[in-house]
């Protein structure tokens, strides 16, 4: 390809200890552990704090609604707020996000309405938001497949000379899939403006990281593809934001893709149908709860005198308001039109679908499904 860029040396292995800017006690880190990244300014950190608090409240609310049977399934991101929000906040509104099923709070951060986000999880339709309006692809369920879409889209943008970056999330388990390899390699060879954020939350359903890879860190994989890799404390939103921001800026300037591994932990079950006590200990969960990403930033902001009681109250109120709105939309039954099943399969009319639509219409007219609508839930 003629869209060549200067070669970035990627021979250096990512740091063995995750890079961090704030330690668990909320103290600013200095020296080598920062990897040369600077702590974002207080206003940025306050914005990130607010987003995390609101997102967690949302996540807790949705989990509760799932227990009430309002959603068919919900993969919680409780504990992963720093990874999700720190990286997404580094994007501009024009950039694209390619999320997975886990990244619902990232969608919230993109400004998508709860009702639209949750349509798929409550089973109304596979995807409920306007992807182009929000520059956010539908959440991908088949693992790692969306990473290739991110590479393709960002490559297309680059061919068009549009300064747009695509960021995609992957889980630690997903890095074992073939599409992850293909996406890393295509991105590196084509030098696409793509940022891969691996949320290493330690488990792929029940399978721990050591059964997924023998690599010392998942960020190490970047070296083999010829792109920079960063091993980051995924519960430190300052670090996640700073590293992603640098990767996004470099991608936008033609510097190619970056792999970022955020080391974090999934506090909740894989989804509501999972039983995590079968594969991890309460002690382990407690250990990670004490490394909570929100508390860490809060300690820092309080010690800096940046987070006042008034602000806290205001943020808590905003979070409650969103939770209330979420409850409200989720307790209102959506009107579903079964005939719409046939409307979005092809752009052009197909006689077979026209016939099948008429057949269903006749059944409906005859009352075949009277009282059945939504009963599957």
């Amino acid at each position: 390809m003629s869209l060549n860029v200067e070669h970035v040396s990627t021979r250096t292995l990512p740091s063995e200890k995750p890079l961090r800017l704030l330690d668990n006690a909320g103290h600013a880190v200095t020296g080598a552990a920062t990897g040369g990244f600077g702590l974002p300014d207080t206003e940025t950190l306050l914005g990130l704090y607010r987003k995390m608090v609101v997102a967690r409240r949302f996540d807790v609310q949705v989990t509760a609604l799932t227990k009430q049977g309002r959603l068919a399934t919900y993969p919680s991101a409780y504990g992963q707020e720093a990874c999700e929000i720190g990286s997404v906040a580094a994007l501009t509104a024009a950039d694209w996000l390619f999320p997975t099923y886990r990244d619902t709070i990232a969608l919230l951060t993109r400004g998508i309405e709860p009702a639209d986000i949750l349509q798929s999880f409550r089973g109304d339709w596979h995807n409920g938001y306007d992807q182009h309006a929000h520059r956010t692809a539908a959440q991908a369920t088949p693992l790692a497949t969306q990473a290739l879409h991110a590479v393709g889209l960002s490559h297309a943008a680059r061919l068009r000379r549009d300064p747009i970056v695509a960021l995609t999330f992957l889980g630690d388990g997903a890095t074992s899939e073939g599409d992850t390899h293909e996406a890393f390699n295509f991105a590196a060879v084509w030098q696409t403006p793509t940022v891969f954020v691996v949320q290493n939350n330690q488990f792929a359903i029940s399978v721990p990281l050591e059964r997924q890879t023998r690599a010392a860190t998942l960020a190490d994989k970047a070296v083999g593809y010829g792109m920079p890799g960063y091993h980051v404390d995924g519960n430190d939103i300052a670090a996640m934001y700073a590293v992603t921001r640098a990767a996004v800026d470099r991608a936008r300037e033609g510097g190619g893709p970056t792999l970022i591994e955020g080391v974090t932990y999934r506090i909740e079950a894989h989804t509501n149908s999972d039983d995590p006590t079968r594969y991890r200990t309460a002690r382990d969960v407690e250990h990670w709860k004490r490394r909570d990403p929100i508390e860490r930033l809060e300690k820092y902001l309080v010690s800096e005198g940046a987070l006042t009681e008034a602000m806290r109250t205001e943020i808590a109120d905003a979070a409650e308001a969103l939770a209330a709105r979420t409850r409200e939309v989720m307790t209102t039954e959506a009107e579903l039109d079964p005939l719409e099943l046939f409307d979005h399969v092809y752009g052009r009319e197909r006689s077979a679908l026209v016939e099948q639509r008429s057949a269903l219409e006749a059944e409906l007219a005859a009352g075949a499904f009277a009282g059945h609508q939504g009963a599957a839930r």
Binding site: S2, T141, T145, G178
Partner: protein, 340 residues
């Protein structure tokens, strides 16, 4: 997004020249790329080499490597990145080098390419074409001769077409590239070198239409891609024995043109379908079932399938035993009770 269409005007019609199907496909790609700068072409060896079947010959020299380029060797990657490119408003035309090497991309094809419009309620459409050289009779080694059409055809959301001659190859590829929905464009390898006099650009029937390529009154033979020739040869041989065979070239496997096929079958009252792929659960089963369901009372005999054996595609020296021949077609027709 600043996609610009450089020209929609049809190219000047040229004087008829002998063109192979590969040449017609090459011309279709060239004309599509010239007409619309959103069209990009990539895959394995499609650049300087021009593709292993030379279908993309000369295109990189003409359009540059931002319009057509060699991708890394990875089929899921090729199809998956095309999804993203199409989301951004490009019209990627990607090549799977051989039929059986499209299988690594199966998940992208069925989970994303086929479903994107539906998942998103029509908000995201994928105007992309996946070209798949398919089928046997070229002496290919293992994995170079599969007929994978029924996998794609039974996937809702995909449009699956297969031309059998140079004129259709040109016209159908142009139409596939212009389609706002993804198209699996299957190219029967054994027909790549078949020739016809053509004045380009040529527009044949719409690609969702089947065509009666030979008129007859006694039997309808339904073929597609490589087996249209088989059907025509069988029809010629049968004519010597006084049997009048009509041949329908399906052209489109999904959607299926019930109207054209049905009209022919009601005229002849007997039908058989021919394909190279294995018979069991294959595309012919769908054809036989559809034809029977819709025309049972017009049929004088069961719909027959003349297909490859239910075996993995054989090695080159054995493939002739596997592929449906005109003789096998005629022998199959002999199993009907003709006096009944």
């Amino acid at each position: 997004m600043t996609a610009t269409v450089t020209s929609n005007a049809p190219a000047e019609a040229s004087a008829p020249t002998q063109l192979t199907m590969a040449g017609a496909l090459n011309a279709a790609l060239r004309d599509a790329m010239a007409a619309d700068d959103r069209v990009v072409v990539y895959g394995e060896d499609v650049g300087p080499l021009g593709g292993v079947f030379r279908v993309t010959e000369g295109l990189q020299a003409e359009f540059g490597d931002e319009r057509i380029w060699d991708s890394p060797l990875a089929e899921s990657g090729i199809v998956g990145t095309a999804v993203g490119m199409a989301m951004y408003g490009m019209r990627p035309v990607v090549e799977m080098q051989f039929d059986a090497f499209s299988y690594p991309a199966f998940e992208q094809m069925v989970s994303h390419v086929a479903k994107m419009r539906n998942r998103t309620k029509g908000r995201v459409t994928l105007p992309m074409v996946v070209r798949i050289p398919c089928a046997g009779a070229i002496g290919g080694v293992e994995h170079h001769s599969d007929s994978s059409e029924s996998y794609w055809a039974s996937t809702p959301g995909l449009t699956v077409v297969m031309p059998s001659n140079p004129a259709d190859a040109y016209s159908m590829l142009r139409e596939a590239i212009e389609s706002d929905d993804p198209v699996v464009f299957m190219e029967p390898k054994s027909r790549y070198w078949s020739k016809a006099p053509l004045a380009l650009p040529v527009t044949t029937a719409p690609m969702d239409r089947a065509e009666v390529v030979r008129e007859g009154t006694d039997v309808t033979l339904i073929g597609y891609g490589p087996t249209v020739r088989t059907a025509l040869e069988a029809a010629d041989a049968a004519a010597d024995e006084g049997l009048s065979i009509e041949v329908v070239d399906l052209r489109s496997l999904s959607p299926f043109d019930d109207a054209t096929v049905g009209a022919s079958v009601r005229k002849t009252s007997r039908a058989a379908v021919i394909h190279e792929a294995a018979q069991f659960g294959g595309y012919g089963a769908e054809v036989a079932a559809r034809v029977t369901e819709r025309n049972f009372h017009h049929l004088a005999a069961p719909v027959l399938r003349i297909a490859g054996f239910d075996i993995p595609f054989p090695s080159p020296k054995l493939e002739e035993y596997h592929l449906p021949t005109p003789d096998r077609v005629l022998a199959a027709l002999d199993t009907w009770e003709w006096d009944a």
